[in-house]
Symmetry: C2
Subunit: 415 residues, 2 copies
C-alpha cells in the first residue's frame, strides 16, 4: 500500500464555529485534494475542559487543553483559530506561524487589532494567514476584496455587517415590535448576547469595517479610530415615521478615502426603499466595494451562523491546500490621516421628546443656531424635523446639545 | 543586466472588451508579478483590418490579421479571446490550448455551446481555460461559483443577467416610458443592438444561465434546452398595474435541480418590492446561488461595459500568473433529465386586450377551463386577472390559447 500523506490540522476552540468546521471537514472526509489518497484531517482540538459534554461526537483522544501539544506537533501544518477573545488566541496564532504553520482564523477582534503584525509574521515565516470568516460570516468578502485590489483602487466601502442589529431593525420595521422586546427576543433566539453592547453599540461592526478598510486603503486603521453610534435610542415612533417618509433604517458601516484622508462611520442611516441595501433583512449581511475600474460590487449572504461561518474557514483551508495564494498580498504601509466623520453629509431626521414648552423652545433654539429647517412637525410631545443638507460633524454637535439638555432624541442621516 | 522573463499574451479581437483589456494591461504596465522584473505584455493582436482607424493608440507592428502568427509564436503563453461570435473563435481557442497556451475568453456563445469540450481540451493539455467575463460582466460569479462548489452542493441559481432588458424595464418602471421608446433610447445610448433579439427574447440570458447551471449541476446543459420568453409584450398599462399591486417586473433567469431533474426558465417575473432583486436597476446584474452549507449568496455589479468586463478578463490573467488554479475543476459528467418549466409554480398576472364582447367571453371561457380566478378587473377593453397558484406549464398552455385567438396579452408569474 502506498504511503498516504495527509494534511494535519490543529483546531483551537470547539464553540459554535469550531464545531461547524469539525463537522464539515469530517462529513466531507477531508476530501479536498486532486488525489483521493490525500485528505485533510483534524488531529488535535484545543478545548478548555476535556471532560465537558458536547453536542458532537468527537473522539476523546483528539482533545487537549495544552496548546503546546499542537504547537510542538511537527505533523500539524495548519492551525484553525476559532476560540474568540483577544488572548491567548493572538499569541497562539503568532507562535504557530513562527513554527511554520499556516493560520486560519475567524477572530475579528484579533485581526482588526493586530492585522499588521499578523500579516508581517506570516510573510517572514512564509506561511499563509487567512481570515475570510472574520468579516461577514459566509460572505466571501475578504477573498473578493483581495482579488479586486490586484487590479483596482478601492476608495469606498459600505455595508450592513452585523446580524443582530439587522435582525432588530428588521423586526421593528416589519413586525411592529419595539426595541426592548426585539432585543429580548433576539437574545432568546440566540442571535444576541446577554450583554448586547458589542452589537448594538457598534463595536462588532467597527472591527469588521477596520479590517476591510485597512485592506482596501493600505494602512492599518484600528477600530478605535472609527466613529460609532448605536441604535438603542430608536423608537416605534421613529420607525413609523420612516415608513411614512419612504425610508428604511439600517445600521450602516461606511468608509471613504479621499487623497490621504480616510473618513469612517458606523451609525444608523436612513435609506430610500429603492436602495439595494434597504431590502437586506434579518441575519443577512451585504458589503459594497467601489473599484476605480470595475465600479460597484456588492456581496450578500449570511453574516453569521455555524455553517456559513465554518464554510468560510474551510474555504480558506482549500486555498492553502491548492496553494492558490500563500498570503494575503496586502501592504499596510501607507501614511493616512483620520478625517473623522467630516467627509459625510446629508439631510438629517431628528426626533426629540419635549416634555413642556421650555424644552420645546430650547430644541428650536438649538436648531435655529445651526440650520434652516426643511420640514418640521410636532405632535404628542414629540418634535421631529428633517433638516437641509448638513455636514455630519456639524449635525452631531447640534444633537449633542439636545442630549446635554437631557432631552430624549434619535437622529439619523438620510443616505 | 539580468534577463527579464515576461509573460507574452496574444489578444484575439480589438472591439470594446479587447480595447478595455489592452488599456488596463498597458496602463498598469503588466505589473502583476511579485518581482518587478517580470511583466505581462500583449505582443500580438488579431484584427480583421490592420489599417482601420482606432480609438486607442496601438503600435502598428502589434497588429496582425493572421491567427497563425499568434498560434505559432512559442513565446505567447496566454491567448485572450474576445472576438465574439461562434467561429472562428471557437476553433482558435481549441488550437491555442492544443499548442499548450492558456486561454481566457469573454465569449458566452462559445462557452455555453462547447464548455464540455473546452474544459476537457484544457485538462488534457494541462492549461487553464477561464471565462469569468462570459457571465455577468464585472460580477465575479464564475470564480465565486467555482469556490463555493468545492464545499457546497448548489441546487438553485437565480439572477438578473442582461443589462439591456434591465435598463428597459427600469426606465419603463421609473421614467414612465413605453417599450418601443425605451428600446430606441437604449439603442441610441449603445446599450442595445440594432437587432435586439438576443437581448429582449432571452438568448443572451439563457447562454449565461446555461454556463452557470452546467457548472453548478455538473452536466453540460446547452442553452437551447432552456425555456425562454421575452419582454416585448409588456405595456405601460402592465407596468402601472404592477406599481399599484406592489410588484416590480424583472427579466429573471432561474434554474433548479431536484434529484436528477433540472428545471430552467428565462422569463419576465414579478417580484415584491421587498425582494433584493427588485432594487437591481439599469445596467446592473445580480446573481444568487444557494449552497447546502453556506445558504444564499448574492453577487451584484456591472453586467456589461468595457472596463468592468475587461477587469474580469484581467482577473483571469492574474489567476494564471499566480498559478492559483490551473483549471476550473468542474466535472460535467452527470446524467440529468430536463424537467422543462414543470418545477415552477406561482400566482399569475394576466392582461388581455379584448376588442369586443366575443373576445371578452372567449378569454373568460379559457380562464374558466383552468382555474379559479383570484381577482379580476375589466376597464377600457383591458381585462386583467391575478390567478390562484398554478403550475408554470399549465399556465403557459392557458396563455397559448389566448395568443392563438390573436388576442394581445402579457403575463408574468409572481415570485
Amino acid at each position: 500500500m502506498k504511503w498516504v500523506k495527509d494534511l494535519k490540522i490543529g483546531l483551537l476552540g470547539l464553540g459554535t464555529v469550531g464545531t461547524g468546521v469539525y463537522e464539515i471537514i469530517n462529513h466531507q472526509k477531508g476530501n479536498y485534494f486532486a488525489s483521493s489518497k490525500e485528505r485533510a484531517i483534524i488531529t488535535k482540538v484545543l478545548v478548555n475542559d476535556i471532560n465537558k459534554s458536547r453536542s458532537i461526537n468527537i473522539p476523546p483522544d483528539l482533545l487537549t487543553n495544552d496548546f503546546n501539544e499542537i504547537l510542538n506537533d511537527e505533523d500539524i501544518q495548519v492551525v484553525i483559530a476559532v476560540m474568540g477573545g483577544m488572548e491567548p488566541e493572538y499569541s497562539y496564532m503568532l507562535a504557530a506561524m513562527e513554527k511554520g504553520k499556516h493560520v486560519i482564523t475567524a477572530n475579528k477582534a484579533v485581526v482588526s487589532e493586530h492585522m499588521d503584525i499578523l500579516l508581517k509574521t506570516a510573510q517572514s515565516n512564509n506561511v499563509s494567514f487567512l481570515f475570510e470568516a472574520s468579516v461577514g460570516g459566509g460572505v466571501p468578502i475578504i477573498n473578493s476584496l483581495n482579488q479586486t485590489l490586484r487590479i483596482n483602487e478601492i476608495n469606498e466601502i459600505k455595508g450592513i455587517l452585523n446580524g443582530t442589529t439587522n435582525f432588530i431593525l428588521s423586526k421593528m420595521t416589519y413586525e411592529g415590535w419595539d426595541f426592548d422586546f426585539t432585543l429580548k427576543t433576539a437574545q432568546k433566539l440566540g442571535f444576541a448576547e446577554a450583554d448586547p453592547t458589542a452589537d448594538v453599540d457598534g463595536f462588532d461592526v467597527s472591527r469588521k469595517l477596520s479590517i476591510l478598510s485597512s485592506m482596501a486603503f493600505g494602512a492599518h486603521i484600528n477600530d478605535d479610530m472609527i466613529y460609532k453610534r448605536g441604535i438603542r435610542d430608536v423608537t416605534r415612533f421613529d420607525i413609523d415615521m420612516f415608513k411614512n417618509l419612504g425610508y428604511v433604517l439600517k445600521y450602516l458601516a461606511h468608509s471613504k478615502l479621499e487623497n490621504d484622508t480616510y473618513y469612517m462611520t458606523v451609525e444608523p442611516i436612513l435609506l430610500t426603499t429603492k436602495d439595494l441595501m434597504s431590502n437586506v433583512n434579518e441575519e443577512f449581511n451585504i458589503i459594497s466595494i467601489n473599484g476605480n475600474i470595475i465600479g460597484e460590487l456588492n456581496f450578500y449572504g449570511k453574516g453569521a451562523g455555524k455553517d456559513a461561518t465554518a464554510n468560510s474557514v474551510v474555504g480558506d483551508l482549500l486555498y492553502i491546500i491548492n496553494s492558490e495564494f500563500k498570503k494575503i498580498e496586502i501592504q499596510l504601509d501607507k501614511n493616512l490621516k483620520n478625517g473623522g466623520i467630516s467627509g459625510f453629509k446629508g439631510n438629517y431626521y431628528l426626533r426629540a421628546d419635549v416634555k413642556d414648552h421650555d424644552e420645546f423652545s430650547l430644541v428650536l433654539d438649538i436648531i435655529d443656531e445651526y440650520s434652516i429647517k426643511k420640514k418640521m412637525e410636532f405632535s404628542g410631545k414629540k418634535l421631529y424635523i428633517i433638516t437641509e443638507e448638513m455636514n455630519a460633524e456639524t449635525f452631531n454637535e447640534l444633537a449633542g446639545k439636545i442630549k446635554s439638555a437631557n432631552i430624549n432624541n434619535f437622529y439619523a442621516r438620510i443616505h
